[in-house]
Amino acid sequence: MNEISVLSIFLAAVFTNNILLTNYLGMCSFLAVSSEVKASAGLGIAVTFVMAVTSVLNWLVEQYILVPLDLVYMRYIVYIVVIAAFVQLVEMIIERVSDSLYAALGIFLPLITVNCAILGATLFIAIREYTLPQAAAYGAGGGLGWAMAIVAMAGIRQKMARSRVPRGLSGAGISLVITGIMALAFIGFSGMIRVN
């Protein structure tokens, strides 16, 4: 356990320990969807919500099921099963409650289950032994940080749509180069806030 404040962890998750730009997690849906700002914003919101809630859920599972029964090594399987079930539930609820939201977001929800940033966040929480408030803050902040990165990337790619990118680099190639440069910028933040 540690004494780091909830606010510090939240800010760290958004900026200085950005799960995408610092830990390089969640790249696949990031690369696939980040060519349009509107689509990226939609996906970002969905990821934030799922990451925040599953962080809490998995913390509870860890504390009340895995630890007492000495099954901590099964963490990986159990976490992913919980995430998958939760995303299914969310999809059903959205479809029931709001048709327009489902039409806008629906296609993204299955994409989220396989987003490694979600699993990554829940594992970081377990490894760093956060308390429940810290876990919630890290989950929410991580999601927001991911969302911020994908929207920034979409903005850059939209502006770049008319540029003359060399044929071989167009698409994923240039996106990874841009991500790398963005990550370089974020390295400047490293160590600013203690997370462990």
Binding site: L31, A32, V33, S35, E36, A39, I107, A161, R162, S170, G171, A172, S175
Partner: protein, 164 residues
């Protein structure tokens, strides 16, 4: 080149058997976004705009309508005819309400001995989406061919007034 899911969905609708029999992409292996960007560059290289090309296409389309299927002579050296069938075809980009009449226009330039064929939907795809369709598509209208056969007027270069 990666596209957004919306563009992917549109590209699927452009395939054969969805809106029309052969679809709008023909044998082209490029993605929708690439086709639009490259044709856009072609149009710019010809010193033209999509609007200029569409105006000319519409001019011939309206002239042909008067013939009710028969040939109409348009001076100085064009023969046009158009034909209609029942029904409306919707824009595969998925937005226009009401659909477009199934009206096919054939313009023959008798001086060059070349012809082009297009429909009301073809005109809309160029005007609203800058989409000239994939290579090999049934109604593919290459901007350079359109400009040549329809004799679309080049944009006049800017006139720099002589000093007073």
């Amino acid at each position: 080149m990666r596209q957004s899911p919306e563009q992917d969905a549109i590209e699927k609708r452009l395939g054969p058997g969805k809106t029309s029999r052969d679809g709008f992409l023909g044998t082209d292996t490029r993605h929708l976004g690439e086709i639009i960007v490259e044709d856009d560059l072609s149009v710019k290289r010809l010193d033209l705009t999509h609007a200029a090309i569409v105006d000319r296409m519409r001019f011939f389309r309206d002239a042909a309508e008067e013939g009710f299927g028969g040939v109409v002579m348009v001076p100085p050296h064009f023969e046009v005819r158009s034909d209609s069938v029942r029904g409306k075809i919707s824009c595969p980009f998925g937005h226009q309400g009401g659909g477009f009449a199934k009206n096919t226009v054939i313009v023959e330039n008798t001086r060059l001995n070349k012809q082009v064929m297009y429909t009301d939907l073809t005109i809309h795809l160029i005007e609203a989406h800058g989409f000239y369709q994939g290579r090999g598509a049934y109604f593919r209208t290459d901007p350079a061919v359109l400009a040549e056969v329809l004799e679309v007027e080049r944009l006049a270069p800017p006139v720099i007034p002589a000093g007073e």
